[in-house]
């Protein structure tokens, strides 16, 4: 079938859906939505519609990025702006069906915001909310708006028009367009995508490959998952454009196995592309032919490194090899190969759809365009965000993220996952771009952004990341294999209260050695979380080592719990809750924690009623509690 015909049909199908007199209900059933309980909400929605004898179109969409408000639905009634409802439970869903679908009360008290023409009194416009206003949705343009399992939805929204345009140009002209956009790799390194394509284009070979790196291994990051679940065709169109530009006839998507829904959506998408002749021979009537395969990862962080990833596709242990030769010349099975990250491919498709100039109008001089981040940790509004490069960390954390949970004090933001660093408050007004974050000792990375507050111990965080990288080191380079182990041993001593003077300097020396002596980026960046926390939070290391004190009160070996004799009412709640049976006391007797038995789980602190708040956690301070249970104050 001719693509013009396919497109016309898709558009008329999309318009018919828009014009339908039936209400439309979009429900987010990505992994985030489901984890928050979207399936139960969807069941209730269907039951309530049937019970009230209502007809409506239900469309299951991907994540719009407001994960903090999941489960989320958008209800469109003809002639009205659509209304978003968040934090749904089956009970609230039933109320909304009754009041707004059976009745005509949009329930402003439950609504998050509206979208589209017109207003509804009492409900703000969704994209005017602080969480969305600073965002520019380019890579995730369709996420939450279209059914990711229906290729017609994508095509009706300009989908594959970028490919159509590219196929009318020469491969070199396509590469020039990408170069002109200034797109830099969104996987972490920030290398020019156009240059990369040029190298692979110029390389000689009878067979060339392209790869989509969807092995999103950074803990705390889910940009690629959300994109593949919510709009797989945006990525696949980018891959087709790249394949045409460099002259590849075969491609692979290497997706981690922890993302079953993303893989399911990719499989559906590929079937539909085959049906429409967008894969296979003579795509869109051109000379261009292309085949695509999905490879599931098997759980190895190092496979995010391009040479390790290719070894894994070939069926071997995922171990990196020295470069050069670069994959552009000798990649998969020794053939020229171009490998880009999920988000880079999604940007490539829209650059070809809307032009390099339009795309480059966002961002800064050296870091063009937009970048997605997964904003998580101790912020009020967690979620997937997309912002122009150059926005400040403060705008992201306090504007979009709504500040720190419980009004606590901000301590650090971790960017770039295990390869990145922890930045303190003094960097909140720094712009987020490749150069600024690198100058601060961190990286943009693939887009993980984890916010930490005063309750997070930075030595513990460094210990956490090193535990991860030490475990994930493939073992090829000795500096990485044993250097990370040695660094971890030292950190273990520090958090356990066995730190010695000189440990900080030793960590710095070892960190440098690991960086210098490792072949790939895993070892080359593994010391970063340790080195940046030493650089910005040295006082916390010193408190652990010299005073055996954990200022955040996180490191178990360095904290004690005790019950304040003046506040304890002798209610017995903590005594019953203590899993170690370390609390003694009796009716109307002040309870006492036996420090020798205490496992420092913090259960007593949690269960002690707020009106008493008698349990105290201290580090490096004396315990002010009686040795034996005594009568409660004033009751003697």
């Amino acid at each position: 079938m001719d693509f013009t015909e396919i497109k016309e049909r898709a558009i008329s199908k999309w318009r018919a859906m828009q014009a339908s007199p039936k209400p439309k209900i979009f429900i987010g059933t990505g992994t985030c939505g489901n984890a928050a309980g979207a399936e139960a909400v969807l069941d209730t929605l269907r039951q309530e519609l049937a019970k009230n004898g209502l007809a409506a179109d239900i469309v299951q969409v991907g994540c719009i990025g407001l994960c903090f408000a999941e489960p989320l639905v958008e209800i469109v009634k003809p002639g009205r702006p659509s209304v978003f409802y968040g934090n749904l439970t089956p009970e609230i869903m039933a109320e909304i069906v009754r009041d707004y679908l059976a009745g005509d009360n949009p329930r402003p008290d439950l609504a998050l915001g509206t979208r589209g023409e017109g207003t509804i009194e009492g409900i703000p416009r969704l994209f005017d909310l602080p969480v969305l206003k600073p965002q520019v949705r380019i890579a995730v343009r369709n996420c939450g708006n279209i059914d990711p399992a229906d290729i017609d939805h994508y095509i009706a929204n300009d989908g594959y028009s970028g490919l159509a345009r590219a196929l009318k140009m020469t491969p070199q002209a396509v590469i020039d367009e990408i170069k002109k956009s200034g797109l830099r790799g969104r996987g972490g390194a920030g290398f020019s995508t156009g240059m990369k394509w040029q190298f692979a284009h110029d390389a000689r070979g009878d067979q060339k490959y392209i790869i989509c790196n969807a092995d999103e291994g950074d803990p705390g990051a889910f940009m690629n998952r959300a994109l593949l679940e919510g709009d797989p065709h945006a990525v696949l169109e980018g891959m087709l454009i790249g394949a045409y530009a460099i002259g590849a006839s075969e491609g692979y998507i290497y997706c981690r196995a922890e993302y079953p829904l993303a893989i399911a959506h990719l499989k559906v998408a590929i079937e539909q592309m085959e049906k429409y002749g967008l894969l296979g021979h003579n795509i869109m009537g051109s000379d261009f032919s292309f085949h695509l395969h999905i490879k599931e990862g098997a759980g190895a962080f190092v496979c995010g490194e391009e040479t390790a990833l290719m070894a894994s596709i070939e069926g071997s242990r995922g171990m990196p090899r020295p470069r050069p030769p670069f994959p552009a010349n000798q990649g998969l099975w020794g053939k020229p190969t171009n490998i880009n990250n999920v988000e880079s491919w999604a940007h490539a498709s829209i650059i070809m759809q809307k032009g390099a100039n339009w795309w480059a109008s966002h961002g800064t001089e050296k870091s063009k365009g937009t970048k997605t981040f997964s904003l998580v940790g101790k912020v009020n509004r967690t979620g997937l965000i997309e912002v122009p490069m150059g926005i400040t960390l403060r705008e992201i954390i306090y504007g979009i993220g709504g500040g720190i949970v419980g009004g606590k004090k901000f301590k650090a933001v971790q960017t770039g996952g295990p390869s990145g660093g922890c930045l303190p408050e003094s960097f909140l007004d720094s712009p987020v771009d490749y150069e600024s974050l690198a100058a601060a000792g961190s990286i943009v990375g693939s887009g993980g952004m984890v916010v930490m507050d005063e309750d997070n111990c930075m030595v513990d965080v460094a210990h956490y990341f090193l535990t991860f990288t030490q475990l994930e080191s493939c073992g090829k380079c000795i500096q990485c294999r044993w250097g990370t182990r040695q660094m971890l041993d030292i950190l273990e001593d520090i958090v356990a209260g066995r730190g010695r003077p000189g440990d900080i300097e030793l960590l710095q020396e070892l960190g440098q050695a690991v960086k210098d002596g490792s072949l790939c980026a895993l070892g080359g960046t593994a010391p970063n979380p340790v080195l940046t926390t030493i650089r910005y939070f040295r006082d916390e290391y010193e408190a652990h080592i010299n005073e055996k004190r954990c200022p955040a009160g996180t490191c178990k070996a360095l904290v004690n719990y005790y019950i304040d004799a003046e506040k304890c009412a002798g209610c017995g709640i903590c005594l019953r809750a203590c899993p170690a049976e370390a609390i003694r006391g009796g009716k109307r007797l002040v309870h006492v924690i036996d420090q020798a038995k205490c496992i420092k789980c913090g259960t007593c602190l949690e269960v002690c009623p707020a009106k008493f708040s008698a349990v105290a956690r201290v580090s490096g301070e004396p315990i002010k509690a009686p040795a034996e249970p005594i009568p409660v104050a004033g009751k003697a």
Binding site: T31, P219, A300, G315
Partner: protein, 169 residues
């Protein structure tokens, strides 16, 4: 939107014949090329719950890859397991988002509740407890996954209710 396939789990088979028959069934869909090694091992594990030695030898014969290489590849990747697993697999995310929001306490709670450590299986083969690097549901941290179903915004109490209810089935 397509549904992710929910793994149906039964206890791992123990008899040699049963293992060989299940591996045979998996191998029928493959050509026997080296590049298929990881997908083959993944499907064998899907069928058996783990990779017994006999199954890995069978895969080696089928692909022509030396047994030691098959073992080397299998042990490289965190996904592969070499001891039988329980009927229910409980995974605690140890991603950064989950870590800073209290995942270690969920693991403590589960270890206490099931009387096993991370990576172990209860003697009645009912539960296997695992940790996973990151599920990518960080905005709903901390998360626990039970048999491929993701539960977000977990607390030690919710974990107790979740596993307790499962145990009562």
């Amino acid at each position: 939107m397509a549904e992710a396939k929910q793994a149906e789990r039964t206890a791992s088979p123990t008899s040699e014949e049963e293992i060989a028959a299940k591996v045979d069934r998996v191998l029928r869909a493959f050509k026997g090329e080296k590049s298929e090694l990881i997908p083959i091992l993944q499907q064998v594990q899907q069928a058996l719950g783990y990779l017994p030695e006999a199954a890995m030898c069978q895969v080696a014969r089928f692909t022509g890859v030396p047994e030691c290489t098959v073992y080397g590849v299998a042990t490289f990747y965190a996904q592969f397991k070499f001891v039988p697993v329980g009927r229910n697999i409980v995974k605690v995310c140890r991603g950064t988002g989950c870590y800073v929001r209290g995942a270690p306490r969920l693991l403590d709670e589960l270890e206490k509740l099931l009387c096993i450590k991370d990576g172990q299986t209860t003697p009645d083969m009912e539960y296997t407890l695992e940790t996973v690097a990151c599920f990518g549901s960080c905005a709903l941290a901390p998360v626990v996954v039970v048999n491929d179903r993701v539960y977000g915004r977990m607390t030690p109490d919710k974990v107790k209710a979740l596993v307790g209810r499962k145990a009562g089935q």
